[in-house]
Amino acid sequence: MKKFVSSVAVALAIVFAAGAASAAGKLKVGFIYVGPVGDHGWTYQHDQGRLAIEKEFGDKVETIYVEKVAEGPDAERAIERLARQGVGLIFTTSFGYMNPTLKVAKRFPKVKFEHATGFKQSKNVATYNARFYEGRYIIGQIAAQVSKSGVAGYIASFPIPEVVMGINAFILGAQTINPDFKLKVIWVNSWFDPGKEADAAKVLIGQGADIITQHTDSTAPLQIAADKGVFAFGQASDMIAFAPKAQLTSIVDNWAPYYIERTKAVLDGTWKSDDTWKGLAAGTVEMAPYTNLPADVVKMAQDTEAKIISGELHPFKGPVYKQDGSEALPAGKNLDDGTLLSMNWYVKGVDGQLPQ
């Protein structure tokens, strides 16, 4: 009996060891999404990054994702569950996951975390972001060229620095073409709510905006714009399929190169916590093909893109004036990253008050 039990124990041990060894070979990469993969926007692009990882590393990785995780206490549960499942690298793809990510990271020091659009790092939490404001500057210029009424409508989500710098970059770009360009902003307090976004688009158009742009994730504003015969810009991914005649371009998030780079780092054992903030130059931000535009506007946009990539042009280049008229940045200087990341004021030319 004793011999039987011990031989069973040995057999089990071998099986577990073999299992662990093969599991150790495969890296589990997890993703927490704030919206549905089918939003054709923000989350869709992150998922494209996930698929790129699978394509690149094949058998060496296994990816898992959880979608529509609300920011808040639910997020902590979802992240923790992934960590418990043996996931080695977790991407949390929304600003509101910042504190939950840090909390779970403390409890699982061996797991590596990548938090999108955040600003707090720790030993095993890295942050990454994309310089969307570069794209916003370009679409601001396009808007000023194309708009007949000189008014654009901006559907914004939450008054966080990320969104505010987008608004400011847009108006600064527009002002290089038309110094009197006006921008109307509506805050819907949600990243994704097609109904609200559609309502906001209708109201903005009713108030004279003939160009619509958004920092929310659904395709509803584009569809409303197409319906009403005005132009609009897509957000986070190329939304041309939803508004073939209305979309001018879109700021596309391309996370694949960064995701592949970080997964490789974990596989090679060289992963370190860092803060990455790349833009057009690195390919993290891309402009969707320019459609429904006259050739000279396309050329202007492409020139600006090239200048930003080469570093010749910085969207936030002084002089920049705040809404109250005070100078935020003297002539000739570029705004530093720190100020950008904590931006909580409007540039002159934006209608309305920034909710605090």
Binding site: G38, D39, K68, K184, W187, N189, V203, F242, G352
Partner: protein
């Protein structure tokens, strides 16, 4: 198109789904059944409507499918609460959860696809009239239907025998049973009607409001409709006022934001709820009228005494 015209059109679009769902729930509650599953029925209507419209290319078929989706969910609820006599509150909440989940499952393949839009009607001369044209004669059929529904429900409930029977069943089901009316059958019918209306409201969302399917696109409108029914003391005209008041304050909130008026956006988004509740409470100040209209047996299961 003037700004005022645009605002009014937007308000009508925003208020219609609330009105449709609330009217259905009003009839259901008048018969003594509290169906908390409005959100679930609405979202099922939305996904079924979108799926049918997308596959067939016809928005009208989509409306029919949305209606069917709502009815299906409500019959499930009816079977559980009327035949098996489960708790109406618990079953209604479960219906909501089931609806949200099931619709997500069904809608998996339809997410993010451009939809079929329910077109607005176009009467040759009337629609082109300067201001009233698009507002009165340029809406899609569901908007007109919602207004007809208010009139029809009001008429049936208060001026026909059928309405009397429904009110009797909701007011005192034992007496109604003693008088020979089939309480269960009446309630089944009213629940199905409620489901049909909620399904229509959902179909409106995915076919006219934002012609696409996204999970959870009802965004709590079912709950708003439920609250509207109660706060308007089960009277159709008050539901109409409540729904349009909610829609108006909601759109005006966005309008105010776009104008640049310095009122915090968060306050503006809570205003529709606050204003509608306050207004309806004020309207319902007449206590006797309220008592008369409250279905006394609401929420109570009916077990015919042998």
């Amino acid at each position: 198109m003037g700004a005022l015209e645009a605002v009014i059109l937007t308000i009508i679009t925003a208020s219609t789904p609330l009105l449709l769902a609330a009217m259905g729930e009003l009839v259901t509650e008048r018969s003594g059944v509290l169906n908390l599953g409005v959100e679930g029925m609405m979202i099922m209507g939305a996904v079924c409507g979108f799926a049918a419209a997308y596959t067939t290319g016809s928005a009208l078929l989509g409306i029919g499918a949305g209606l069917a989706g709502g009815v299906f969910m409500s019959l499930l609820f009816a079977f559980l609460t009327q035949t098996l006599m489960t708790s109406q509150v618990a079953t209604g909440l479960s219906l909501t959860l089931l609806g949200l989940g099931l619709s997500g499952l069904i809608g998996e393949g339809f997410t993010g696809l451009p939809g079929v839009k329910l077109s607005a009607i176009d009467i040759p001369v009337l629609t082109d009239l300067p201001f009233v044209g698009p507002i009165l004669f340029g809406q899609d059929i569901l908007v007109y239907f919602s207004l007809v529904l208010v009139a029809a429900v009001g008429y049936v409930l208060f001026r026909t025998r059928t309405g009397l029977i429904i009110s009797a069943v909701g007011g005192n089901h034992h007496s109604a049973h003693a008088l020979g009316y089939n309480v269960i059958k009446v309630r089944y019918a009213c629940i199905a009607f409620g489901g049909a209306c909620s399904g229509l409201a959902g179909a409106y969302l995915s076919l006219a409001y934002t012609p696409q399917w996204i999970e959870n696109m009802s965004s709590g409108r079912g709950w708003i409709a439920l609250a509207l029914v109660v706060f308007s003391t089960w009277l159709p005209k008050r539901v109409l006022i409540g729904a349009y008041l909610f829609g108006t304050v909601w759109i005006m909130g966005l309008y105010v934001q776009a104008l640049g008026v310095p009122i915090p956006a968060q306050l503006l988004s809570s205003l529709p709820y606050l204003v509608t509740i306050v207004a309806l409470i004020v309207i319902s100040g007449n206590k006797t009228l309220t008592k008369v209209n409250t279905p006394a047996c609401i929420g109570q299961p009916f077990a015919p005494e042998r």
